[in-house]
Amino acid sequence: MTNELIDFTLVSVAMLAIGIYGLAVKRNFIRMLFAVEIIINAANLNLVAFGRFLPHAGGQTMALFSIAIAAAEVAVGLSLIIVAYRMYQNVDIADFRSLKG
C-alpha cells in the first residue's frame, strides 16, 4: 500500500480536534450534533485503518457496529432537538439548561 497507517491516523486526529472545537465553541444544538458526527467518523477511520494494517477483520466489524449505533444516536438526538425546539422555539443550548419543560 502506498499510504501508511500514520497518514490515516493524522487525518483522524485532525478530525477529532475539529469536532472538539465544534463541541466547545458552538451553542447551536444541531451544530453540536455535527461535531459529534465528525468525532465518531474519526474513530471509525482509525478502526478501519488499524484493521487494515494489522490485518484483522475485527476493525471493520467494530466500525460497522459503530456506524449502526451512531444511526440510533442521531435518531434520538434529532428527536430531542425537535422536542426542545417545540418547547423553547430556539436551538440555543443555553436555553435548555432547565429541563423542566
Binding site: V13, A14, A17, V25, R27, E37, I38, S79, V91, D92
Partner: protein, 170 residues
C-alpha cells in the same frame, strides 16, 4: 508516502468538516457534513474496505445526512442563518483545537505507528460476515434491540401530545 487520491480526500474531508461547523447557513452546513461523510467513505475504499464504505454511504450519506437536513428545515428561518457563539470562546476553541492537533499528532509521529506498513492482502468481507454470526452474535442481537428501542424512543419523543387523533387523520 501518501498518493494523490489520499491528499484529495484529505482536503475534501477536513475542508468540509470545517465548513459544516463554520458556514452561516445550517442547510449548507449539513450539505458540507455530507461531504465529510462521503470523504470518510472514500478513505474506506482506499483502505480496501469496500463493504464498510458502502455501508457508510448508505447509512450516513443516504439516511443520517438527509434526516439532519429535514430537521434543519423544521427550524425557523432566522435560526437557520443565526450564528450563536461567543468571540472570546471561539479563539479559546481554536487554541484548544491546535493544542490537540499538535500534541496528539506529535505523540503519534513519535510512536511506533510510523513504522507500520503492510504488504499483506486485505481482509475478505466474508470474514466480517463470519465474525458477525459466530463470535459477535450476542452483540449483533443487542444492536438490533438498541436500534429498535432508539427508533421507538425517537418516535415517542417527537410525538405531539397536543394534537388529537382525529386531527391527525385530517
Amino acid at each position: 508516502m501518501a498518493d494523490a487520491a489520499f491528499l484529495a480526500l484529505t482536503v475534501i474531508t477536513i475542508g468540509s468538516a470545517i465548513a459544516a461547523l463554520e458556514m452561516r447557513s445550517l442547510i449548507y452546513g449539513s450539505i458540507a457534513l455530507m461531504g465529510t461523510l462521503g470523504g470518510i467513505a472514500g478513505f474506506f475504499f482506499l483502505l480496501d474496505a469496500p463493504f464498510v464504505a458502502l455501508f457508510q454511504l448508505a447509512v450516513y450519506v443516504g439516511s443520517i445526512a438527509v434526516l439532519i437536513l429535514f430537521t434543519v428545515m423544521l427550524v425557523k428561518r432566522e435560526l437557520i442563518f443565526k450564528m450563536i457563539e461567543d468571540r472570546r470562546r471561539k479563539f479559546a476553541g481554536i487554541g484548544l483545537m491546535l493544542i490537540i492537533m499538535v500534541s496528539l499528532g506529535a505523540v503519534f509521529l513519535d510512536s511506533g505507528i510510523k513504522t507500520i506498513t503492510t504488504d499483506e492482502l486485505a481482509v475478505d468481507f466474508r470474514d466480517i460476515g463470519k465474525n458477525f454470526v459466530t463470535y459477535y452474535w450476542p452483540a449483533l442481537i443487542l444492536m438490533g434491540l438498541v436500534l429498535a428501542g432508539s427508533v421507538t424512543g425517537a418516535l415517542v419523543l417527537a410525538r405531539r401530545e397536543d394534537v388529537e387523533d382525529d386531527q391527525r387523520t385530517n
